[in-house]
C-alpha cells in the first residue's frame, strides 16, 4: 500500500513537472513567433509534411467511420422507425466529434511520432547544439514552424475527414440500405449548424497545437542515445493520445455551454 502511494505520488509529481515544462516551452514558442524573421519557408515545409504523412490514413479512417456510423444508426434507429435520421446522425457525429478526434489521433501517430523522432535524433547527434553554434535559435527554427503547422493543418485535415465521413455514410444509407438520397442530404443539412462545424474545427486546431508541442517537447529534451529517441517517440504518441481524449471532453463541455 505504501509502495503504491509512493508510486502514485511519483507519477503525479512527474506529471506536474512535465506539464510545467511543456507550458514553459509554449511560452518560449509564443515569444519566438513574434520575433522576426518569420520562418515561412520552413513552416510551409512542415505543413506539407504533416499533410502528406496523414492524408491517406485520414481518408481511409474517415470513410470507414462514416460507413460504420450509418450502419449502426440505421439498424438501431429502424427499431423505432427513425431510420430517416441516418444523415443527421452521421453529419453531427463526424463534424462535432469523430472528425477532429480521429484526425488528431492519426496526426499524433504519424506526424507527431515523426516530429519526436526527428528532433530526438537531432538532439542526440548534437545537431541542435550545432544550430546554436550557428547562431540559430532551435526553438524558433525547429519548434515554431511545427507548432504553427499543427494549428493550421489539423482543421484542414478535419474538414476533409468530415466530408469523406459523410460521403461514407451516404454510401451505406443510400446504396446499401436503399434509403432516399435526397432525404440523406436534407437531414444531414437541416440539423447541422454552423457552430457544429466550427466547434469541431476549434477542437482540431487545439489538438494540432498540442500534438506539435508535446511531440516537439519529447524530441527536444531527449536523452540517452538511440534508445532515448525510441522512448521519446513512444512517449510523445502516448501523451498526445491521452491529451487529445481528455481535453476533448473538457473542450466539448466548454463549447456546448
Amino acid at each position: 500500500m505504501l509502495r503504491f502511494l509512493a508510486l502514485l505520488g511519483g507519477i503525479i509529481l512527474r506529471f506536474t513537472e512535465t506539464t510545467g515544462r511543456v507550458l514553459l516551452l509554449l511560452l518560449q514558442v509564443i515569444k519566438m513567433m513574434l520575433i522576426p524573421p518569420l520562418e515561412i519557408r520552413n513552416t510551409f515545409k512542415q505543413a506539407l509534411e504533416i499533410g502528406v504523412r496523414s492524408v491517406p490514413v485520414v481518408l481511409v479512417t474517415a470513410v470507414f467511420t462514416g460507413m460504420v456510423l450509418a450502419l449502426q444508426t440505421y439498424t438501431g434507429f429502424k427499431r423505432f422507425g427513425a431510420e430517416a435520421l441516418v444523415g443527421s446522425v452521421v453529419a453531427l457525429s463526424m463534424t462535432r466529434e469523430m472528425g477532429p478526434v480521429l484526425t488528431g489521433l492519426i496526426v499524433a501517430g504519424r506526424a507527431g511520432a515523426a516530429m519526436a523522432a526527428e528532433l530526438g535524433t537531432m538532439r542526440v547527434t548534437e545537431q541542435i547544439d550545432a544550430l546554436e553554434t550557428l547562431a540559430t535559435d532551435p526553438v524558433k527554427y525547429l519548434i515554431v514552424p511545427r507548432f504553427i503547422s499543427g494549428l493550421v493543418v489539423m482543421p484542414m485535415l478535419t474538414v476533409v475527414a468530415d466530408m469523406i465521413g459523410i460521403l461514407g455514410g451516404y454510401a451505406i444509407a443510400v446504396w446499401y440500405y436503399h434509403t432516399s438520397s435526397i432525404l440523406y442530404w436534407k437531414r444531414a443539412w437541416d440539423y447541422l449548424e454552423l457552430s457544429d462545424l466550427y466547434g469541431g474545427l476549434i477542437k482540431a486546431s487545439f489538438f494540432g497545437g498540442m500534438i506539435a508541442l508535446i511531440c516537439c517537447y519529447e524530441g527536444f529534451y531527449t536523452e540517452g542515445g538511440a534508445e532515448g529517441v525510441g522512448k521519446a517517440t513512444t512517449g510523445a504518441v502516448v501523451i498526445s493520445f491521452m491529451t487529445i481524449l481528455i481535453s476533448d471532453y473538457f473542450l466539448t463541455a466548454w463549447l456546448i455551454a
Partner: protein, 256 residues
C-alpha cells in the same frame, strides 16, 4: 592579459550528483592553438560547451574577448556565437539538408541568396579538400568526409575562434592525419584562435601550441608540447605515455 581571447575562470558544473568540472581555469591567447587532453568522460566536451555558451556554469566565469558570456541574454550570446565555429565529434551535420546547404547554413540564415551561398560552400569544401560532394546528402558520406564537411561548415562564416571536439576520434589513422593537417592549415591560412579536445596524443602533439591536461574536473597541468612531454607530474606522465600503471586507476581492474 589584454590579448586573451578565451578565459575560463574557476568554472564548476554538476549534472545531478556528477560533479564534472571542479574549478577549471584556462586561458587561450589570440592566435594560439590550445589542446585540452583528458580521459573519456573527464568533461572535455562539457568544458568546450561552456566556452561557446551551450552550457552555463554553476559558478565561475567564461570570458570571450573580455565579455562574460555566462551572464549574457540570448540575443547577445548569439552575437558572440558568430565569432565561433565548432566541429562536433560526430560532425553533427543536418541530415535533412544537402552538403552545400549544411556548409552555407549560417550564411543563408543571415540573408545570403542561395546562388551565392552555394558558390561559397563549394569554395569552403575545396579548402577542406572535397570536390563534387555539394549535392550529396550527409548520409552518403564516409566518417572522414563528414568531419571535413563539418569543418567547412564551421569556417564558412569566417569565425575568429575554432573549436574541435575530438577531431580525429573514430576515423582511420591516415584520415586522422589528414584532419590534423587541415587543422594546422586553418590556423595558418585563416589565422584563428583554436581549442581542440582529444585523447589522441599523437594528434595533440601535431596540432598543439599549448597543451592542458584535464583530470578530475581541473586543469592539472598546462604548457608547451615539449614541456608536457618532459613533465614531472606523475598524472600527466601516465596519461601521455598511455600507461596502465600509475596514480590513475582504472576502475574494476587491478594487477597483482
Amino acid at each position: 592579459m589584454a590579448d586573451s581571447v578565451i578565459e575560463v575562470v574557476d568554472v564548476h558544473k554538476s549534472f545531478g550528483d556528477n560533479h564534472v568540472l571542479r574549478g577549471v581555469n584556462l586561458r587561450v591567447e589570440k592566435g594560439q592553438s590550445m589542446v585540452v587532453i583528458g580521459g573519456s568522460g573527464s568533461g572535455k566536451s562539457v568544458l568546450m560547451k561552456h566556452i561557446i555558451g551551450l552550457l552555463r556554469p554553476d559558478s565561475g566565469r567564461v570570458l570571450i574577448s573580455g565579455v562574460d558570456i555566462t551572464r549574457l541574454d540570448k540575443k547577445h550570446l548569439y552575437e558572440i556565437r558568430k565569432k565561433f565555429g565548432m566541429l562536433f565529434q560526430g560532425a553533427a551535420l543536418f541530415d535533412s539538408m544537402t552538403v552545400w546547404e549544411n556548409v552555407s547554413f549560417a550564411l543563408t540564415r543571415s540573408g545570403m541568396k542561395d546562388r551565392e551561398a552555394r558558390m561559397v560552400a563549394i569554395e569552403k569544401l575545396r579548402l577542406v579538400g572535397l570536390r563534387n560532394v555539394e549535392d550529396l546528402m550527409p548520409s552518403e558520406l564516409s566518417g572522414g568526409m563528414r568531419k571535413r564537411v563539418g569543418l567547412a561548415r564551421a569556417i564558412a562564416h569566417k569565425p575568429e575562434i575554432l573549436l574541435y571536439d575530438e577531431p580525429t576520434t573514430g576515423i582511420d589513422p591516415i584520415m586522422a592525419d589528414a584532419i590534423n593537417e587541415l587543422i594546422i592549415k586553418m590556423r595558418e591560412e585563416l589565422n584563428v584562435t583554436s581549442v581542440a579536445i582529444t585523447h589522441d596524443m599523437h594528434s595533440a602533439y601535431r596540432i598543439a601550441g599549448r597543451i592542458a591536461f584535464l583530470y578530475e574536473g581541473q586543469i592539472v597541468e598546462e604548457g608547451a608540447p615539449d614541456e608536457i612531454q618532459n613533465t614531472s607530474n606523475p598524472l600527466t606522465k601516465q596519461f601521455i605515455t598511455g600507461s596502465f600503471e600509475g596514480p590513475i586507476k582504472v576502475e574494476g581492474i587491478s594487477v597483482s
